[in-house]
Symmetry: C2
Subunit: 341 residues, 2 copies
Amino acid sequence: MIKKRVSMKDIAQRLGISTALVSYVLNGKLSDRINKATASLVKDTAKEMGYQPNLLAKSLRNSKSYTIGLILADIANPFSAHLARIIEDEAKKSEYTVIFGSADESHLKFNDLVQTFLSRQVDGFIIAAVEGAEELLRSLKEQNIPCVLIDRYFSGIEMNAVTTNNYQVSYDGIMKLRQNGFNRIGMLHLKSSLTPMTERVRGYQDAVSKDNTYTGDRYLIGIDEPDLKLQVVSAIDQLVSRDEPVDALFFASNLLAMEGLIHIRNLNLRVPEDIGILCFDQSAAYNLFYCPLSYIEQPINEIGEQAVTILLNSIDNSELPVQDLVLESRLVMERSALKTS
Amino acid sequence: MIKKRVSMKDIAQRLGISTALVSYVLNGKLSDRINKATASLVKDTAKEMGYQPNLLAKSLRNSKSYTIGLILADIANPFSAHLARIIEDEAKKSEYTVIFGSADESHLKFNDLVQTFLSRQVDGFIIAAVEGAEELLRSLKEQNIPCVLIDRYFSGIEMNAVTTNNYQVSYDGIMKLRQNGFNRIGMLHLKSSLTPMTERVRGYQDAVSKDNTYTGDRYLIGIDEPDLKLQVVSAIDQLVSRDEPVDALFFASNLLAMEGLIHIRNLNLRVPEDIGILCFDQSAAYNLFYCPLSYIEQPINEIGEQAVTILLNSIDNSELPVQDLVLESRLVMERSALKTS
DNA sequence: CTGAAAGCGCTTACAG
DNA sequence: CTGAAAGCGCTTACAG
């Protein structure tokens, strides 16, 4: 059996005083009214006996668990993993613990996680929501449970959110490609109704349509996530074998870029001579590609930090107005986006 | 304010019965002795009122939190992130929740995490330990707190562990390189006293020393993690510019391989013509390198699953003997390990 | 300066 | 078939 851990009661008994007194001392409350000698005796004894407060009991009594629930799309995705790390670090600074789960784009898993975390009395949520989550989010809002949405934004619901300027940075990126001389720019995106993806597509569409270059959907292909590899391959095959083939590609996500670049290499297409490249999201992997790749870098650290800050504020004060923070991504232009012909 | 959540007491009052009865019904206990009508009434009312059990209270009462503490080296490392995902999934199947933290190779952070998690009354730990953790691990063992070590193994302490055959697979990998005709094989490893690294080095040393090819340390260079990038660059520069330069390189970790390959490409060394390559750990990034890379793949899924299984077993039954599971890694030989001259 | 007492939301041995 | 009561480890208003 696990050794019984020592409680305040144990300390109190050993010292022949009340648990109330032990509690006051150990929490530094009423310190002005407590006998200094008693106080230090209590502290010493606590240390000696290896006292560890039981946070479960504390939480139950205070109806505050100092726990935040983090729901991510997929912790195995580097973007999520990085975010998880920042959020855990940041939460810890304020003595909060993080419990987490991956929703894997499944509505059922998402609901399940929310319920589990509620049972565990989390003080609030940081959520990268999945499609079909609106109803549940609305109910969290109604119950006044502090939440911050990250990455994905639901326009119908007034909730705290930390997102990035997906539309603008995509637009800027494409315009930059155009200025650099590319004029048949294709885009691969994930079929998704969630804002980051839709906004990136919209940014692309507006940029390529500007001044009537061509209408936005001519070189635009949506990919189904479950069948990603195969579809990326055939999409690229298609785009490069047209009468007027693409001369540049914009990958709307990490994973798309990964698979796309592999195929481009297999096709022996030269970047940027045959095809220019722009990717959304940074990846350590890009460094292994022969041509320095251009990408759009979201400020992950800031997203994580701000999400925690906003959440903790709204836990402390439920009257705060809803915050909707849009951070700026950075456009990093490398050789893959320079026309050389 | 957060709306008060509904408790068993609320249900009991509404129905004019005792909370005991509510508890019995909702937990399916004593179900043979309870009036079916009352039972279904309770269940319906619970559902209608949106009852959510308070796991904090339950845990306090049962001295069991259904929580496991996961301590990783660094959640932002793909290997860890993947592991975290498996462990969370696997734990969830048994209704356990995971709380996690990154120790970042810091002894202090590690201690801190253990204390925090103990305060939260975790039922057990899954731990990728840091250097200098022995003492604390020993104390966990003394307190009979269920633990499973992963990835890193401490020979002095009898604890459950799930690791992989680092020595053997490294040995095999190097022997394979030799069979393929490489005979001046270098290795870059992290300076670390922890088993995975030391075992990989030992495997390399034994393999290159076999039949007196050369002694094991001639082409062996240790890298300090904080200064990894620069040191990898200068290590490689050194190894390839000797009178008898290396004709192959074994990278003992993901990160080393990443930086090393970038530099090899910058030097315009051809893989495998100028230099053969073998990497420890798989990485999605390898696919972007121009030459298919050989690597050693640890069975991450199995590590995670087994760790959870062993942990839950030892939570349920503290009398179980210590388990020390060594899983087999897989050697994946690609063109980077084929001598072509 | 200190203690007795109630209560957070649950479970369970005991009694009827 | 059901209820009263104690207790898990804490905190805190109240009394002295």
